[in-house]
Symmetry: C4
Amino acid sequence: MKETMINTIKDIDAHNVIFIEGLPGIGLIGKLAAEHLIQELGAEKFAEIFSPHFPHQALIKEDASVRLMKNKLYHGRSNDKDFIILVGDTQPSPSNSFGHYEIVTKIIEYIEKFGVSMMFTLGGYSTGGEIVEHPRVLGAVSHPELVEEYKDAKISFRDDSGAAIVGASGLLLAMGRQKGMKGMCLLGESPGYMYIDAKAAKSVLEVLSKILKLEIDMTALEERAEETENLIHKIQEMQRKSMSQNMPEMSKDLGYIR
Amino acid sequence: MKETMINTIKDIDAHNVIFIEGLPGIGLIGKLAAEHLIQELGAEKFAEIFSPHFPHQALIKEDASVRLMKNKLYHGRSNDKDFIILVGDTQPSPSNSFGHYEIVTKIIEYIEKFGVSMMFTLGGYSTGGEIVEHPRVLGAVSHPELVEEYKDAKISFRDDSGAAIVGASGLLLAMGRQKGMKGMCLLGESPGYMYIDAKAAKSVLEVLSKILKLEIDMTALEERAEETENLIHKIQEMQRKSMSQNMPEMSKDLGYIR
Amino acid sequence: MKETMINTIKDIDAHNVIFIEGLPGIGLIGKLAAEHLIQELGAEKFAEIFSPHFPHQALIKEDASVRLMKNKLYHGRSNDKDFIILVGDTQPSPSNSFGHYEIVTKIIEYIEKFGVSMMFTLGGYSTGGEIVEHPRVLGAVSHPELVEEYKDAKISFRDDSGAAIVGASGLLLAMGRQKGMKGMCLLGESPGYMYIDAKAAKSVLEVLSKILKLEIDMTALEERAEETENLIHKIQEMQRKSMSQNMPEMSKDLGYIR
Amino acid sequence: MKETMINTIKDIDAHNVIFIEGLPGIGLIGKLAAEHLIQELGAEKFAEIFSPHFPHQALIKEDASVRLMKNKLYHGRSNDKDFIILVGDTQPSPSNSFGHYEIVTKIIEYIEKFGVSMMFTLGGYSTGGEIVEHPRVLGAVSHPELVEEYKDAKISFRDDSGAAIVGASGLLLAMGRQKGMKGMCLLGESPGYMYIDAKAAKSVLEVLSKILKLEIDMTALEERAEETENLIHKIQEMQRKSMSQNMPEMSKDLGYIR
């Protein structure tokens, strides 16, 4: 394997799809939101993505069997619309820009065949440690006119001129735009510690489901979000006790495989 | 040399082989076990593997001549079965995922020609410093049904869901599986200091020889294991004397070339 | 995208061009000078450069839309001469020599078609923290005879034998020379903190405009230069107050995207 | 430039050459020795080597003109024998094994055309800080029988089994051997600080000139060696004054471009 491979498992009949990306990143926000959406839509896996730019390791599954690190494409339908959803174990290492570009190029070429009516890339936006009571959802778009189109969806289009969206969420949007694909990136505000931030994921999914007119049962995500909130309260408690200097160590352990 | 090369030294007559990997890793456990097996089987080297992803250096041999870093394939026979055993000086650097994938891809393609009835990849599993009296052998398989097949072999199939097997032991198993090869990874528990852990290597080889119904004289390995145990006792002594903070320095020196 | 791409947006009619490079580097000196020149010449963008060696991220624009990191080529005319000016968001990471060489090779091949009468690469020269009242402009040339040709232009051709010009400013000059292109690198002296050094940029542009006999309104750059000077005075103040140890932290934040 | 290029400047008439390598490494020992040999033989440059794996920078020459980082091949004749000598500014970065292999492969292919009767690679061997009064010259060979052949040349063929020769000196010898080329690596003992160690270079060149029956005027090298010795005395003085903790900083500055 000398380059990224996308293996089709099952041919799908999909046209003019809504493409949604939720790969691991800050707080696993995009991944949580996209995986919940897959469950709610009953979407089915139809392709797997392997890459020599993913970590060189095998993951152990619950049944003691192993598999390669991978990304996956799911297909679901709702309201007469086709959805293709991208999730997975990992992205290339932050020092490997070449790998990020290679993978995103392959994915864009692959989904282009179906026609892409709209792309949503999901992720997190670090507040740099500050804890937020009600995580906002920050938006960035492929084409400026989309700001107007989605202005009622409780998205914060701040002037973040010069800021960057790192990794697949940014590259898919910007490279898709070069192929004429419309898209929007939705980023849930998060303290940015490396725990799983289900609360921010819920915020992102609420905005997305409203836009897509999807009825999504948030119960499971709410339960995880509650756990998140409890965790945050504990962290705040610890910070009050001036123990914040030990935190980076702790959070690193929780975030190794994202 | 722009990619990994496997040079056949000698044509072998081998079919439906049992493939065993023991490249350098934690405590050199896999390497020790595989090299001991080569000796016991009287296996012969038939191919050499060179790669631009190996360290850019020459190794000095006892006779003052040098050679490139390499991996090697050995062929042996026992109980009417063909064995191909992979050992070597090194694996690519941990920051070079691309190199790991490239080499493993080449090896899989090469051994596939012989037919592979079963693959065993051997290595170590770090307890994170904790010293273990009787190192267990942890198992992971290519196909879940193999857990049942090997349940009598004193292998611990713990639920390590989400854990990762890094390097050749993991990649060979997971990439072999994609080619339909059955396989199992056997990992000897080890404190994970970077000394040579012959005790854990013995545990791994005991499990493997039982599975393969091989009579293996463990004397040499037992001697090395005793040395290991003495070393561990020394380390424990030092830890009791609260000198543990000096250990990482020490162990690093011992582990430079693996 | 597996290699650097230069997309022509608009065909231009240009011959025997003067090529000017101002990509991000020390103090953003080259970038500031080249962007000011683009504005003054009313030069127009005619090509965009994308590369898998650029950071794997999308930049957010003022209108909340995103775009890939890129370099850009502008075309302008003055005194019957064609100018091609290279500016952009970024250069490859310092650890990726291969990427630097690949991009510069593509750019040289691209501009060679127009014929290049002279190349000017603009950048900064770090004094290693020392603040300079009147930043000198240091020069290095493709061909030694150019020193004589430009001796009246207030350029300091010090004996810097053995010193290196890192990145595009150095590679373009040296690789261009191999294709027979004449060129000169102009480096404005700068303390080398990672703030924007408009004062040094003004010095560089003054030298360049004198050489090219261009009338350039420096007002905007002077205003920025004044801000720079105020910033430098603040830094000096802080240094006097022995707070210099906090500065690297500060300056890093200001320099993330260059 | 996407791979290493060797540009022939001048066709040479050379057969069955003695190939000598002296690229930058520990103490610049190999480089000093090889450059002195070039001068003594009156050897002429006939080829230049450029590589995208070299640092991405231009070097400033004394006349203020710049050039790319490069390696060079020289041709000289003495005692009816053809010499090809490899020297240069740099080797790839230590983290870029792929680059090291690529360059050495190209060089081997290039010199193979002339026929190589013997290869000598020159370098240093760090004692890890210990200062040596009379630097020994350690040897390693391509073929064990060469130890016997060169036993009278005051070379120390210690049992360094398992030690490694890093970079071009090691790779050229080991990869040359795979093409059937005979060779020897000569490493001058050096404290391994990153200053220029002319004393060790002289030791290496004395061994080499004796082997090759070359009359070499060591005066210039002796002068530099004296400077080295003075520097070493200063360092010893400083060490006596317990200032050794400041040394790594110092030596780093001297060794940036090797």
